[in-house]
């Protein structure tokens, strides 16, 4: 294994952050510039949104179900089993729905973007695109950001709902709770601030998923091995960044939102 000096290592990391920032800023600035690749954006939204639906539904349902199952023992000990709807709703909407959906979409789409753009990079298709007078950031990155941000928002709503349904399934079949009571309890526990927090996060997470996937794809070098490396790095970086940003975003929203 080749040893790298700490200075070179630090320089590489700083350069990577700078390049990532430049790519993100350029992609966002492109939203205001012509031409707008609407067909590409809709295509990406279809791949990301419809394509991720099965895994998001399954993850959401079983997360809600296991949440109800795990918390039932503790709640039963305090005689508060009827509050299970509130617990599942608060946990899913504020935290688990956005984070798990973000992680699932990161696993599926950051890797997909990194491998697709990485393959294009190593086969000179990105250079060919530039040579043919097209800005690859505008054509490839901006539609992916728009598609991911908008679709992750709706996927999170779906995930929250099926998570609550999973909790309802466990509550009704295994814990013997009344379904009406569960849903009423869940519904009444949710405040406006919970919804705002739960739906602000996917906007940030969607941006992270798309920009990280595209950044690693466009930085790929070294043939197929380089594409494989970029794909792995994209998933790891996007997942870690989602969890880190989640902490700071939660803290920030708790400060600014009334009633948190």
């Amino acid at each position: 294994m080749e040893l790298i000096s700490p200075t070179e290592f630090a320089k590489d990391k700083v350069l990577a952050v700078q390049e990532y920032y430049q790519l993100s800023a350029q992609a966002v600035a492109n939203l205001a510039r012509q031409p707008r690749y609407i067909a590409d954006t809709l295509h990406q939204a279809d791949i990301i949104g419809v394509g991720s639906l099965p895994i998001v539904v399954l993850t959401g349902f079983f997360t809600g179900a296991v949440l109800a199952l795990q918390s039932s023992n503790t709640l039963q000990r305090f005689g508060s089993l009827s509050l299970i709807g509130e617990l599942v709703a608060e946990s899913m909407v504020r935290e688990l729905g956005p984070v798990l959906t973000g992680l699932m979409v990161a696993g599926r789409n950051s890797s997909g973007m990194a491998s697709e753009l990485g393959s294009m990079k190593v086969t000179e298709q990105i250079d060919a695109m530039r040579a043919l007078g097209t800005d690859p950031v505008k054509k490839l990155v901006t539609p992916r950001i728009l598609g991911t941000v908008s679709m992750l928002f709706f996927l999170t709503i779906i995930s929250n709902f099926v998570g609550l349904a999973g909790g309802a399934f466990v509550s009704g079949t295994l814990l013997g709770l009344d379904a009406h009571q569960y849903w009423q309890n869940a519904w009444q526990s949710l405040a406006f601030a919970d919804i705002v927090m739960g739906l602000t996060k996917p906007v940030f997470f969607g941006f992270i998923v798309a920009t990280i996937g595209c950044y690693y794809g466009l930085s790929a070098k070294g043939g197929t091995q380089g594409v494989g490396r970029a794909t792995t790095q994209a998933v790891v970086a996007a997942s870690v960044l989602i969890l880190v940003v989640d902490f700071f975003l939660t803290r920030f929203l708790m400060v600014i939102l009334p009633g948190m």
Binding site: M120, T123, E124, Q125, A131, L132, G133, D135
Partner: protein
């Protein structure tokens, strides 16, 4: 090699700037601390074809990428069709690139698009050309490379030679002033290579576009210097000594990032430079 009978081109008159397609002035670039081009200067006149020769890693492909502004030099000045590309932003470069067609080493066709979409890509991006006009020009370009029947095929369904021909069609569809060929025959069998070279000769002699062609195959370069395209027979013909046909093809040889020869084929094959003699042998 010196026994080859090559046409002797008349010495070119001093070029005015409006006659210059590409000009490199003392251009240098390096990657990861290693110099690739070191003070390279040359001119490509409008209508001229220049063949870049040199061993692998001598900086031939880098020159093509510098012309397009895909990479920036560390030093020096590059002027393309009157625009100083070294001073231009990426957005400004898109206008210059509209006048340049490039055939990449491995074709670089967009593998998720059909042949029709690949060839029409540049025209479709311009947004002010009607779909009928695009279709007409795409068919014309594919007819030029004799692949009109592949319109709806995907690049993965084509052979290596066919992909290279589609890449040529994509490069010429907008009738650019300059064409850049990066090892257009690399990895192809001799028969397919000759087909590709015939297309390059046809483009040179029929449309009179300026071109830079990178190759490490000397036989390909000499074929370009010894043949011309006869529009009457629609075939490439051998250029007889003394024939009154100016194919305007010159050679440039790179060694360790420096230009060691820039001139006509005849001067190259009669050079006394030991490295050139060894390279040609």
């Amino acid at each position: 090699m010196s026994s080859l009978s090559l046409p002797v081109a008349p010495p070119p008159p001093p070029a005015e700037s409006r006659h210059i397609a590409i000009q490199f002035e003392d251009v240098s670039i390096g990657f990861e601390g290693k110099p690739v081009l070191d003070g390279v200067s040359f001119q490509l006149l409008r209508g001229e074809s220049k063949i870049l020769l040199g061993v692998a890693g001598s900086g031939k492909s880098t020159i093509l990428k510098l012309v397009l502004g895909l990479i920036r030099p560390d030093g020096g000045r590059i002027v393309v069709l009157g625009h100083e590309v070294t001073e231009m932003t990426e957005v400004e470069l898109f206008d210059v690139r509209r006048d340049i067609g490039m055939v990449f080493q491995e074709s670089a066709l967009f593998d998720s698009l059909t042949v029709r979409e690949n060839v029409s890509y540049r025209l479709s991006e311009e947004h002010d050309i009607s779909s009928e006009e695009i279709e007409r020009r795409v068919r014309e370009a594919l007819r030029f490379v004799e692949l009109e029947q592949t319109l709806d095929m995907m690049p993965a369904e084509l052979s290596g030679g066919m992909r290279r021909r589609v890449a040529i069609a994509r490069a010429i569809v907008s009738q650019p002033e300059i064409l850049l060929y990066d090892s257009p025959t690399g990895g192809l069998d001799p028969v397919t290579s000759t087909t590709i070279l015939e297309l390059i000769v046809k483009q040179r002699d029929v449309y009179r576009s300026s071109s830079l062609m990178v190759t490490h195959r000397l036989q390909d370069a000499l074929l370009l210097a010894t043949h011309w395209f006869d529009t009457k027979t629609n075939q490439m013909q051998h250029l007889e000594p003394g024939a009154n046909i100016n194919i305007r093809t010159t050679f440039m040889l790179l060694r360790d990032g420096k230009v060691i020869f820039d001139g006509p084929a005849n001067d190259l094959v009669h050079s006394e430079d030991p490295y050139i003699r060894e390279y040609l042998s």
